[in-house]
Subunit: 253 residues, 2 copies
């Protein structure tokens, strides 16, 4: 298992701890001769690496990625002539933290991992291989989904929560309270805001249309809540909060 | 330590587990003869119990509460003639869950507990007693603050995150995605939405003016984020997300 990271110290630590067995100097050298190449970088660099690594891939190699937004990545793989050898992946795991220090041996245990086929005849085989990797090597639960459906769904389940956490953190930052405690609730609700800004810039822009729809719905929901508080209508306010509570209790199963 | 709960089974469980040593049939019987009476109910019932328990309090008894909003509670205590015997309290601990099953022996260890004096000469003594209870018996870190400052601050640090989590949960509920996974980020950002709707109806309405200001700021922040996504401006979007990330990383210290 050969690894490469932009952050050399991270790659060395991954080697030292046995997460990889060899270290390459460049992404190209990592790809050369590999049976499976996984790009674990933000969506922007993922697009760039697809073209850059193509000439270095072995004839029967499978290429995949882990970006949180899949439509542009899958489309680019097809444009690069990789339709039969690429399948996108997106494991729902991890936190706002990045780098090897945020890695955990059990991070993917039982986690959903979306796998997006390119839609070409040979792409099904690549998706099968990628799903097998996530199930058998990483312990995740692969779920096949097409890239457009994935992005539309994730706009709501992941990209909107991230955008909301960031917008809340900015509102709090601008309020400028000093030396106050935010308590467990305020910290949980803003946790995602600590995520890598460059990574999320790529995600939000690559899923722009769907994210804008989700943001508009959130703006509407927030405005309705404000109107209920303004109107001092306890019954309707309780119903609104109750609708959110029923939903939230439901997603823990 | 005598306890009473609206939920009899909860009170019995608290007795059985040693959290209280005796059980009263009514709030009035709990109050009679006690040196310290703590109302641990939502803000609405807190206001009601202040008047109802007053005749039953021993001459040197101290009365307190744990509501997340303090101005109306302190004002009502003063109107009930309890200015010298009341101090409000608000421990920043716990989760969205309620009832004895959500209790933990170490829940208050090291947690901030705001203590709001009534402002009367004798009220300082009561606040001293309440702070001592939270420090010595509950292991929390009491912080004296006046009720108006508390409510203005908590509108941002706690009530706004709660409102945002609820509004996000309602937006997601109305989108109506079935059988999808929300991942750790989506679950954290909406966690507070599972809180008791009746409790939060009281809190949001008792802190209405400050909450509306905070909601307006959040609406503005969300609209700015949407405009940056709409404009496809990666630099400005990264700056916005970066402002949120810097803030969020800062509040973990």
């Amino acid at each position: 298992m050969v690894g490469w990271s932009r952050d050399r110290a991270d790659a060395v630590e991954a080697l030292r701890r046995g997460a990889i067995t060899d270290l390459a100097d460049t992404p190209e050298r990592t790809a050369r001769g590999a049976a499976l190449v996984v790009l674990a970088v933000p969506p922007g660099p993922t697009l760039e690496l697809l073209g850059r690594l193509r000439p270095w891939l072995a004839a029967d190699a499978i290429l995949s990625d882990v970006a949180s937004v899949k439509r542009e990545v899958v489309a680019r793989a097809c444009r690069e002539g990789l339709a039969d050898r690429f399948a996108g992946a997106h494991p729902l795991a991890g936190t706002h933290a990045t780098g090897f220090s945020a890695a955990r041996p059990d991070m993917f245990d039982g986690a959903i991992c979306y796998v997006c086929p390119t839609g070409s005849p040979g792409g099904g085989q690549a998706a099968h291989g990628v799903a097998g990797f996530w199930r058998e090597v990483m312990g995740a639960e692969p779920v096949l989904i097409d890239a457009a459906t994935h992005d539309e769904q994730l706009a709501w389940t992941s990209h909107l929560p991230q955008a909301v956490a960031s917008a809340l953190a900015v509102a709090l930052a601008e309020r400028g309270l000093q030396g106050v405690s935010y308590g467990p609730g305020g910290r949980d609700t803003t946790r995602l805001a600590a995520s890598d800004p460059a990574l999320w810039t790529d995600i939000l822009l690559q899923n722009r249309e769907a994210v804008l729809q989700a943001l508009a719905a959130m703006g509407g929901s927030l405005a309705r809540l404000a109107a209920l508080v303004e109107a001092q209508d306890p019954g309707a306010l309780r119903d609104f909060l109750g609708q959110g509570a029923t939903f939230r209790r439901g997603i823990d199963r």
